[in-house]
């Protein structure tokens, strides 16, 4: 019997159900926008780390960053029907996360967190505890300095430096102009240097 005849006899037998985890973002967005929560779960799992990292760099502590990241995904779910796919989903999520952070940051002073990753202990074995500690202290100082920048400068520095977004993409996210983005980036770096320069 040929494959064609098999198709004619039982077409449903050839229906392939692709696992959600194998679908691309746009297919998952379509499914989630139609109300499929499992599809949205996959999107959350796929993008949660980058969204969390944006938030962490804004507030420099885990508790607030996790709250902000959660809030960003709730808003993303609410706004899925408005996502038309003109930009990548990640850019759209960055936009939401940055706006959530900008709104929260304006109402709350960032709290610095001194807790560091466990990588610190691995480094200590290799480089010596003292060297690792100095490096870690410097990292804490840099994160604190970034979290203390004015919010537009902070957003620009974070998106440009850590998420490799172009000036135009950042301008889109911040509803700003390329010129303003460059100016903010410039002032962010100058201020960062000033703050770090005054650190002991």
């Amino acid at each position: 019997m040929s494959n064609d005849s098999a198709l004619a006899i039982s077409p449903w037998a050839l229906t392939v159900v692709t696992p959600l985890s194998e679908l691309d973002d746009s297919a998952l967005v379509s499914a989630a926008a139609a109300g499929n929560r499992e599809a949205f779960d996959v999107l959350v799992e796929r993008h949660r780390r980058t969204v969390y990292q944006v938030c962490y760099r804004f507030v420099n502590n885990h508790e607030d960053a996790s709250d902000l990241a959660q809030d960003a995904f709730v808003r993303a779910w609410r706004g899925l029907k408005n996502f038309k796919g003109q930009s990548a989903l990640s850019t759209w999520l960055y936009r939401i996360a940055v706006n959530v952070c900008l709104n929260r940051v304006s109402a709350k002073t960032p709290v610095t967190e001194a807790i560091e990753s466990t990588d610190h202990f691995e480094d200590a074995r290799i480089e010596g505890a003292q060297h690792a500690m100095i490096r870690e202290e410097r990292a804490v100082a840099v994160r604190k300095a970034i979290a203390g920048l004015p919010k537009k400068q902070r957003a620009t520095l974070i998106l440009r430096t850590y998420h490799d977004m172009s000036h135009q993409q950042i301008a889109d996210v911040l509803s700003s102009s390329v010129g303003a983005v460059k100016a903010n980036f410039f002032h962010a770096l100058v201020n960062l240097k000033k703050i770090l320069g005054s650190e002991p």
Binding site: E45, R48, S66, D71, W77, R138, A139, K182, V190
Partner: protein, 190 residues
């Protein structure tokens, strides 16, 4: 030639400076120092990573998002916008203040009714059963609350809240409020 602008310094740092300006940069110590400051700050920033949370956090995070979405959906669907507590509480407070005034102020003979009409300056709305039901529900919600109880619960009324609340009502709702207030005035007098 003028020094590099902030835009140009960013372009220079990213290798996008025009040739004409590059020749200025090559000859200008001031601009070279500025560029070095920017590059050094960027290099230092790039070396700093975000501490990775525990794997357990990520497992819980997805669950937290799910729960938050459920809660968001349940709070968003139940009540019409004008029946939110931010609107209801000031409205209830206004109603209680008016009732309190009616009880404490001695009755006057004459044209009270006309003065109330003039003050409110709004026509009386026809009876609307749906709107009436809403006002009955509103009365049920706030009817047993006095100002002391509300204050003790932390509900305070700022100057202008009542006006804001009334301004949020539609024209139809304002007419209904007018009708109810007039009915209360009439009832208090009788």
């Amino acid at each position: 030639m003028t020094h590099l602008t902030p835009d140009e310094l960013i372009d220079a740092m990213e290798g996008l400076l025009s040739e004409a300006r590059q020749s200025h940069l090559a000859a200008c110590e001031h601009c070279q120092r500025e560029l070095a400051v920017l590059s050094s700050a960027l290099t230092e920033a790039k070396q700093v990573s975000v501490p990775e949370p525990s794997p357990l956090f990520w497992l819980n995070f997805s669950q937290r998002v799910r729960v938050a979405i459920d809660q968001d959906a349940s709070t968003a669907t139940n009540w019409p916008a004008w029946l939110r507590w931010q609107v209801l509480l000031p409205l209830g407070a206004v109603a209680m203040i008016i009732l309190g005034l009616m009880i404490s102020v001695p009755k006057q003979e004459g044209n009270d009714d006309a003065s109330v009409s003039a003050a409110l300056q709004a026509p009386v709305a026809p009876e609307a059963p749906e709107a009436l039901d809403r006002w009955v529900m509103l009365a049920d919600l706030v009817g047993d609350i006095d100002l002391d109880t509300a204050s003790a619960a932390g509900v305070t009324l700022m100057p202008g809240d009542a006006e804001q609340a009334v301004l949020q009502l539609t024209a139809e709702e304002q007419q209904e409020l007018t009708r109810l207030l007039k009915a209360e005035l009439t009832r208090a007098k009788s």
